[in-house]
């Protein structure tokens, strides 16, 4: 046999293996970076890591190429041409920092609101939010507002925790899994690992999604719902389950506010509020006495049915009666919703039956005694093994908040939240709205040279917590926490530029952005936004948005529109902190946090943004960032990670605290903390005690553990809020009660949307445009192998997704007479684009879709201007406007969920026509080629990565 004599079966893959955290997306898996010489040989998943257990996705595996992208910025830049021309001059860091501080100092000293600081795909909001607070501007938010804030808020306000990556299905124990509108999600690898486990156990998965790809393709059942109608579908499931008595009454009584008494006194200012005692405690009807008593009393059995007359008129009834009255109504029957949802009533019955069967006939019992917050002992943990998960298919609609609430209520009704086999929180959740802070930034809280008294983002509990002025007008630039979007817990990133441009509610002086490609894929109305960024005031000749500071690591579309660029490092070159104070990486059974550290040194004049931000803070003399002498407190971000304390004993990292490095959660700073993390594989994790793993909201063991870890200062047990008093308070305001009332033009909308029990209302765009003219829903999906805009610079990933066809249902293709590769015009109320199509069967017949963020602006990302991303790739964003079509009153609402301000990307309705055949068609609109910063690395025409590593190996082997 001519076996290969040179075949080396045991090559050494690394001189050293550096363990850190991936940042090819926000999932934050643990990675082992194999390094040979000074080159990266290989990146694999870290088997010990709680997030990914050793697996690694396509993006993570392409990290080497991201790290070496020719589009990496290489020095601070000062704009020299016009905005958008992409003409820059390299400057020193000193000059850059001086420039930034000279812009920001006067603002802080006069009117801190004039700084709008918005961060995108950021994972250091604990730092950036604090920085904004210390600066004193209320105008801070991260990317949640254009992402899935309505889902986050619905979760927090209803069950004290949300989907996103804040909770997880109980993969080990569930017997039925329902997935609503998820293509990929932040928990990219965990969901896949979990689905693998379900398949292994033969557990049925049902995907409710207009499109059958990815997770929906492997689901045992696919329900191709019409977009925007999940609320109806879920309420019809609730209707059936209630009607047939397939609900968990014991659970409802113990863990939810279903028994709480609600005042019914129509027209009065307390109508619909909970009946409370003098201590503010909500009341329930005691089963034995039939009398109201505090819901917190131990040993009672509250009633779900009944009525008591109130001394000053009206009655109070358990919230459960309102639920039953509402949802048993035939308007919620499967038959009533099938025309809108496109799901035959029989399938709803069947699914409801399957849910009931799994929940009640296959209950999971874990032999684990535990004690609840009232001191009652339970000898077992009993679960209803139906797990559900949802993401942007629900949240990217203007009715997403209420739909998501309906979904959580469905979970609660069958007793499957925080019970074995159901949906589980990841610490530090659960944490209900009332123990989160309220947003800071009321008019009297914003003062020159003064920090805000609290964090700019928080959870309002009533109209009193809104950030509005005396006239009820917004005080934040994005109009967050105003009557436009009262519960906008993450701000409204997608409105910042258009509001700042319009000077509505006021102009800003500096727009400071970080890691958000706002001039392209993360904005609605992309062309409009580009114009807003470049338009000048004819009187002064100054840009409407006078100064823009931006931090990116790569030559993205946004870079060309900034005045000052603070170049970041790549994720393998810097310190980062994946903190419990931010979006942690915990799993339901363990608390965990992690770091990134420079596993290779940058070869360019770039700095980690967080270090830059701390430097800037110190130059501005922000409290907490300088000592008494005005000297910087922190050398860099690593120093801050180690030594900063949010409150005594609590710092950015929870592991290896105290001088000994043995303290967990709470403890003094440990100078060797980062080394301890590195030695431990880049992360820290601590298992929850066995008896603390379920029923966390009501579990004494968990509450004690949470206090020990520093999540809370005292135990904070609570009940799930099926009936939302918070929403009712806004409802009452809209009805004319209280001192803070909505402006006239928003009253009807608030009345319609702020219902204390979730209701379905039609998505706004779908409702406002003529459905004969725009009959088709248009959606985007996340490609698993690509991350927003930043994956396209990656030569491996872009071979997988170099352009994106519009996938159209076969019926539509037949009527349009188009085939794969033909081109169509797609128009909406706002614009028109020309795109290539691909025909598909597995998609809702009224829906078309494409991959998100594949289309690129010519010239950006160091790609050839003729790259397929620019020629055949496209964005749906050109069709989506940040404002809805004009209404009768001449006003235009923002294209958002009216409750949280969540951008309603998926409400889009379009019309499609066949385009004339052209041999070399290109996607439209086409934009001029973007200029790129000076001296970027020249892209290779042939790439042979590994060449020098192989050569080195050969040499070694020969020696």
């Amino acid at each position: 046999m001519p076996d290969d004599k040179n075949l080396n079966l045991s090559p050494k893959s690394a001189d050293r293996i550096a363990k850190t955290t991936c940042y090819m997306c926000a999932c934050r898996c643990g990675i082992n970076v194999h390094i040979k010489g000074d080159e990266i040989r290989y990146i694999e998943g870290n088997r010990d890591h709680p997030v990914n257990n050793g697996v690694l996705c396509a993006k993570g595996s392409a990290g080497i190429m991201q790290h070496l992208s020719p589009a990496r910025l290489n020095a601070p830049l000062k704009r020299v041409g016009k905005r958008g021309e992409g003409k820059f001059e390299k400057i020193s860091w000193e000059e850059a920092m001086e420039m930034a501080s000279s812009w920001l100092k006067p603002i802080r000293e006069t009117d801190p609101r004039k700084l709008a600081f918005f961060t995108g795909r950021d994972q250091s909001q604990a730092l950036t939010g604090w920085w904004a607070q210390q600066f004193g501007t209320p105008n801070f938010a991260a990317h949640g507002g254009f992402c899935s804030v309505n889902m986050a808020a619905a979760g927090i306000y209803t069950i004290g925790g949300a989907f996103w990556e804040f909770g997880s299905p109980d993969w080990q124990n569930t017997e039925l899994f329902l997935l609503f509108g998820v293509a990929e999600d932040h928990d990219s690898n965990p969901i896949k690992i979990g689905l693998g486990k379900l398949k292994d156990r033969g557990i049925r998965t049902v995907s409710i999604n207009p499109v059958q790809t990815g997770y929906s393709a492997v689901a045992d059942d696919w329900i191709g719902i019409t977009p925007g109608t999940d609320g109806l579908f879920i309420l019809s499931l609730i209707h059936v389950l209630m009607k047939t008595g397939q609900i968990d009454l014991d659970y409802l009584i113990r863990y939810t506010n279903a028994p709480w008494l609600v005042i019914r006194r129509p027209g009065s200012a307390d109508d619909g509020l909970f009946l409370r005692d003098e201590n503010g405690q909500p009341q329930v009807l005691d089963h034995k006495t039939g009398k109201p008593i505090s819901a917190e009393t131990a040993g009672i059995r509250p009633q779900l049915k009944g009525e008591i007359a109130l001394p000053n008129g009206g009655v109070a009834v358990p919230a459960f009666m309102l639920m039953a009255e509402d949802w048993l109504n035939d308007e919620h029957s499967p038959e009533a919703s099938e025309a809108k949802t496109g799901i035959p009533a029989e399938r709803v019955y069947a699914l409801a039956g399957a849910i009931a069967e799994a929940a009640f006939k296959r209950e999971v019992v874990i032999d684990q005694p535990w004690v609840d917050w009232k001191g009652e002992h339970h000898d077992k943990m009993i679960g209803r093994p139906v797990a559900m998960h949802a993401m942007r298919g629900i949240s990217a609609h203007s009715n997403g908040f209420q739909t998501c609430r309906a979904l959580h209520i469905l979970q609660i009704l069958i007793g499957s939240v925080e019970t074995p086999g159901g949906f589980r929180f990841k610490p530090p959740y659960p944490k209900p709205a009332h123990i989160h802070p309220r947003p800071a930034g009321k008019p009297d809280q914003v003062k020159p040279s003064t920090p805000l008294p609290g964090a700019p983002l928080g959870y309002p509990m009533s109209p009193d917590d809104l950030l509005v002025d005396d006239q009820g007008q917004p005080v934040r630039i994005d109009k967050g926490y105003s009557w436009d979007a009262p519960l906008s817990a993450h701000g409204l990133m997608h409105m910042v530029i258009s509001n700042a441009y319009a000077g509505d509610p006021y102009p800003v002086d500096v727009l400071f952005m970080y890691m958000a490609n706002m001039a392209w894929n993360s904005s609605m109305n992309t062309r409009g936004v580009i114009d807003m960024l470049t338009e000048t005031d004819p009187e002064t000749g100054e840009y409407r948005i006078p100064k823009i500071i931006y931090s990116d690591a790569y030559s993205s579309e946004m870079v060309a529109y900034a005045d000052l660029i603070l170049p970041d490092t790549t994720y393998l070159e810097r310190h980062d902190c994946i903190s419990l104070l931010d979006r942690p990486i915990c799993e339901p059974d363990c608390v965990a946090d992690a770091i990134r550290w420079p596993v290779v040194e940058p070869d360019r004049d770039v700095r980690g943004f967080q270090s830059t931000l701390l430097d800037l803070g110190a130059r501005l003399g922000l409290p907490g960032m300088v000592d008494a002498d005005g000297k910087p407190l922190y050398r860099d971000y690593a120093d801050y990670m180690t030594n900063h304390q949010r409150k005594p004993g609590i710092g950015p990292l929870a592991g290896f605290r105290g001088q000994s490095g043995k303290d967990k959660g709470r403890g003094d700073p440990n100078p060797d903390q980062i080394d301890a993390y590195i030695a431990n594989g880049g992360f820290w994790s601590e298992e929850l005690p066995e008896n603390a793993r379920y029923f966390k909201m009501a579990n004494q063991h968990y509450q004690d553990f949470a206090v020990k870890m520093g999540f809370f200062d005292k135990p904070e047990p609570y009940c799930f809020q099926i009936y939302s008093e918070v929403l009712q308070k806004f409802q009452l305001a809209a009805q004319g009660h209280g001192k803070n009332q909505p402006p006239q033009h928003l009253r009807e909308r608030i009345k319609a949307c702020f219902t204390p029990l979730p209701q379905w209302y039609a998505p706004f765009e779908g409702d406002m445009v003529d459905s004969d003219t725009y009959p088709i829903h248009a959606l985007t999906q996340r490609p698993m192998a690509m991350y927003h805009s930043w994956g396209s610079q990656n030569p491996w990933l872009r071979q997988i997704h170099g352009h994106n066809p519009l996938f159209i249902p076969s019926g539509l293709a037949r009527s349009l007479q188009v085939q794969d590769g033909d081109w169509v015009w797609v128009s909406s109320h706002h614009g028109k684009i020309k795109v290539p199509v691909a025909v598909m069967e597995g998609v809702n017949p009224h829906t078309v879709w494409t991959w998100n963020a594949i289309g690129k602006r010519r010239g950006a990302w160091q790609l050839d201007p003729d790259a397929p991303e620019a020629r055949k790739g496209f964005l749906l964003n050109h069709l989506i406007h940040e404002l809805l079509p004009m209404r009768g009153d001449g006003l235009r609402w923002s294209n958002s969920d009216p409750i949280t301000g969540q951008a309603a990307w998926f409400d889009l309705k379009v019309n499609i026509t066949k385009a004339d055949h052209e041999d070399d068609a290109s996607a439209e609109p086409a934009f001029p080629i973007l200029g790129t910063p000076p001296d970027l690395e020249k892209p290779a025409s042939v790439l042979r990565y590994g060449d020098s590593i192989i050569a080195r190996d050969k040499k070694e082997n020969n020696q």
Partner: protein
């Protein structure tokens, strides 16, 4: 020589589960990054930032749709070399560069001997071989021969890169020559099949079919009945009775 070795008892290969592959391309890219700096020449990419980017890959994911209308099913379909027992790619090779290992059946290309004639790629029915655009030699899946016996790796890591990285565990590695092995058992239990058996290549790799849909449909009479049964005496009566049954 390029004649095939006598059939070996050990037949190392992959078993790929089409029932759970979500088409994430993790195996594709991890394969590329492991192999580009390992076995043979780098897996090159031409026009990596240009108009028609293309490169050599040892594993690719196709997405198919089968059937029509509501019954249509999307299937993600990974494909790499199947390490065929009767590998035509080996016997056509004029130089002996292409060979099948006697000891474990792995089909490899000795890149130092390959003249880059491309014939083996024509002989392979599956498209499992690709000419490297820069090196001009034939590239194919090596079954990670430099991992599976690699004593520098932890025992549990001595599996192909694609298998180790697959988040859904859709890929299994083992000895398909041993009927007792886990992979053989899987194939037996799940009705694992060959691709294009009519080509007579006798692939070692096997595919597990997507399981039939367990749709929650109206056919499941029990469930529908359960969901339609009315509570005797109406909801409120049911409520009273149920509450009475609750402990406490």
């Amino acid at each position: 020589m390029t004649s095939l070795p006598p059939a070996s008892d050990v037949k190392l290969g992959l078993v790929i589960d089409l029932d759970i592959c979500v088409g994430c391309h993790a195996c594709v890219v991890n394969c590329k990054e492991w192999n580009t700096a390992g076995y043979g020449a780098p897996l090159a990419d031409s026009n990596p930032y240009g108009k028609n980017p293309s490169g050599s890959w040892l594993n690719r994911i196709h997405t198919f749709e089968a059937g029509h209308g509501a019954e249509a099913k999307v299937v993600h379909f990974p494909k790499s070399c199947l390490h065929c027992e009767d590998a035509p790619c080996v016997t056509v090779c004029p130089t002996g560069a292409s060979y099948k290992r006697a000891e474990d059946g792995i089909v490899l290309v000795n890149e130092d001997h390959c003249i880059g004639c491309g014939l083996c790629a024509w002989a392979c029915p599956y498209g499992a071989r690709e000419m490297d655009p820069a090196e001009g030699v034939m590239k194919k899946c090596t079954l990670c021969v430099d991992r599976i016996y690699n004593t520098h790796l932890e025992e549990e890591d001595r599996i192909p890169a694609c298998v180790r990285t697959c988040p859904t565990s859709a890929r299994h590695f083992g000895d398909l020559g041993d009927p007792e092995s886990e992979v053989s058992q899987l194939v037996a239990a799940r009705g694992g099949f060959d691709l294009m058996p009519e080509q007579g290549t006798k692939p070692v790799n096997k595919y597990l079919p997507p399981r039939p849909r367990q749709s929650v449909t109206a056919d499941e009479v029990d469930l529908v009945a359960m969901a339609k049964k009315t509570t005797p005496g109406g909801f409120w009566k049911w409520l009273d009775q149920s509450l009475d049954r609750l402990p406490g």
